[in-house]
Symmetry: C2
Subunit: 234 residues, 2 copies
């Protein structure tokens, strides 16, 4: 019935397998045929079947173990994937005009919480920035950022008056490791003023810590204007 004569691509195989999962032909926790068997059924090769199953496993549907075989996950371990775009691009995609503004820039001793968070030595100086990002001149995001000058010495000479720190840093340390978190925080007076929101309003917040080869570079907190949400479809 479901036999296929012509060779199938790994995409075809993925979609057939997904269909069978949805239809319950291969129910939760059951074992799929081996790659070789599937290759035969699909008039394909093991390499092709392997790619299909590997991707389905990466996407959270299957679990694969040598010798044990390929098993259907009972609770598909779905993953939400969100892009971490540049603010400029994020604003640009909505068709709005992007504008950047520096609010403040100073050199200060790293506050204790920051030093602890980034494993900085006590008394370490950092460059502290506050910036605003606007979409069509409406507040879009307030950015608070601390940069460690021992990691990026040029930061001491950079005024950040026309280029945001994120884009500036990307030019110097484009391929870093990072930790990215999202949370909800509360608008204090400063946030309320800059984001044009009532004091006490919930503010969607992202925090990003960047390292290069184990050396902490920067911590950024991004506070979004009311109504912002991060969405993904899968």
């Amino acid at each position: 019935m479901t036999a296929q004569k012509d060779p199938m691509s790994y995409r075809d195989i993925k979609s057939v397998v997904l269909d069978r999962l949805r239809a319950g032909i291969w129910g939760p926790d059951s074992l799929l045929p081996s790659e070789s068997d599937l290759a035969t059924e699909f008039s394909s090769t093991r390499t092709t079947v392997n790619r299909a199953l590997r991707e389905l496993a990466e996407e959270g549907f299957l679990e694969r173990k040598r010798k044990a075989g390929t098993r259907v996950l009972t609770a598909p371990a779905r993953r939400a994937q969100f892009a971490i775009p540049l603010v400029r691009e994020e604003v640009g995609e909505t068709g709005a005009d992007y504008r950047y503004a520096l609010v403040s820039r100073q050199i200060e001793t790293a506050p204790a919480w920051l030093a602890a968070r980034l494993s900085l030595p006590a008394g370490q100086d950092v460059v502290a920035l506050t910036c605003m990002h606007y979409a069509d001149n409406a507040p879009f995001q307030l950015e608070q950022r601390w940069i460690v000058p021992t990691a990026v010495p040029e930061v001491l000479d950079e005024p950040f008056d026309t280029l945001g720190p994120n884009e500036w840093l990307l030019k110097r340390v484009p391929f870093s490791n990072l930790e990215f978190s999202v949370m909800a925080s509360k608008a204090d007076e400063k946030l309320a003023e800059f984001l044009d929101a009532p004091v006490g309003d919930p503010i969607f917040t992202a925090e990003r810590i960047t390292w290069l080869e184990g050396t902490p570079i920067t911590l950024a907190r991004m506070y979004f204007a009311p109504g912002y949400r991060m969405t993904t479809r899968l």
Copy 2:
């Protein structure tokens, strides 16, 4: 200098390429050698190089086009990947005891915003649930959920008094499409009471809409207790 004699695995190649990106040997916006050339340099085959570069592109470092070649992205389009776990597992991983409780269950006409959101016909009945998830008996998450009975008729007979709707649904429609959003919302009196938070506190909120083959199944809003954050490392 950097010549390799023994054949390298696709992992080795990935890490060498990443090193060169970090070192700026292949700077932003520059063109990498073709797959065949790299295969020669690495004493490997094009298939293996292809897998390495393909994965690096998926991870957001490179951009690949036929004929145009492989280009280094100026601003690496990093992606944050968050797991969407079952509450039970999320709580369990912290070592805490998980407990589920049904707060309310009723059948009601879909409110207008929900009907619009899920493209339901006017006057459609839905099952409306409110549930609590506890970690070591402390509030962890309040879940508000609406299920469309025309899509899952058995829902009308399910009391949901011992098993949460998410796990219940997973057994029936495990392989669905979904839209997942996160945002910040504000604790009203009900939320404050159940999550043991002050009224007006910012509440990290996730919303999940599920379809099966284009048919809307359910919408869920998950309100997390204060202090919750979603984190990922890359």
